[in-house]
Amino acid sequence: MRLSRITAAAFTAFVLAGLLASAKAQTAAGPTTTAGHIQSLFGLFTDNPFTGGQVAPRQYRWVNENVLMFVQFDRPRVAEARALRYIGMSVKGTFCAEAQPRGATGGFTHYHRLNSPTYGAGHGGPPGWNQGYWLLWVAVDEFDTPSGRVVPGVDYAFSPTPGPTCGSNVSRPDFQGPGQHRLTRAEIRRLAALFNDNPLRGRQTAPRHYRWVTGDVLIWLQFDKADPAKASALRHLGIAKRGVFCREDQGHADFAYFQRLKATSYAKGRGGKRGEAGFWHLAVSLDASKPGVDRSFLRTVPPSCSKR
């Protein structure tokens, strides 16, 4: 009896592994990050939201008066960078547990002060400090860090600065960030022009803009309008990873939405048949009133592929 259970389990695992490999093979791997692409991204993320002389090891772009998005490479200098490691967001905030966006486990692991003479001295701050930013990192690749192996998705262990308890009297951030502004229409057009890959087949035209960054992962932007020429704001950024429509392949629940590879229209491509190839999406809301991972974004519930 015990042996037959093991055999059945092994068979199921074997079938599932074959299903995943077969479906993934249908989604051709995207191009990896090139030196030219790295320079292009550096060129679009040129804002510095800090004062005091500190230099962050990542590149920023203001999205609106309270929120920035960023890209972070394996090396902080453009000439030395070889791969994109993270995308993410910063939102103005106060260094209190009560003011940490989405709480202690919501992905905003790090608080950084607006003003500091060096970047290393700008982490965290006194309880209640209200001139700084909460940060959330989304890994776009798989790599090793001092705290362990990181896989695509929110890095919930990135440089934690636990928020102190401040009580009921939590002040709101009240500073003007250097260069803060809403994205202009010209900036939106430039961003959309760089995010010009379409990983979807059939006659699918997604209302977002993709860019391959590894063989398996794309980063994407979604504006308030599908046509960037008509858009006036950036609503979400995120990553999409190749996969199949199976619960076993979803990975973290942050990957809430699946779009199949092939469909006759974008609307028909949401979700899919059991085991179908496509892309798992993780969405990050850039809305300052509700920033962070948006698990309600086009949520699709996958079936189990281990059932027979």
């Binding site: 290393g120 982490h123 965290g124 701050g125 006194p126 001092p146 705290s147 934690p160 600065t161 636990p162």
Partner: protein, 90 residues
């Protein structure tokens, strides 16, 4: 530890040996946010739940009494991987 731009902060001394039952005290001697976070290994810096204290300003302290002999590693979360230390308890 000023003077080293790559590793601007450190626990000093980085290693200390005490007797079982003695208390170690960490003192923040600058206005920089640090944590004293226990970890099972200095090769894989993950909180192990033994202790994790934030010291956000100059003069703040953290005391911990080690009751059993052994080797106890710790690090500063935002200043990993260079800001690490070890307490050996005899």
């Amino acid at each position: 530890m000023p003077g080293d731009p790559e590793h601007p902060f450190a626990f000093s001394p980085r290693q200390v040996t005490i007797k079982s039952g003695q208390t170690a005290r960490w003192v923040n001697n600058e206005n920089v946010f640090h944590t004293v976070t226990s970890t099972d290994s200095l090769d894989r810096l993950r909180p192990n739940g033994r202790f994790n204290k934030s010291l956000s300003r100059r003069g703040q302290t953290f005391d911990y009494t080690f009751r059993q002999a052994g080797t106890y590693h710790y690090y500063c979360q935002p200043h990993a991987p260079f800001m690490v230390g070890t307490v050996r308890v005899e």
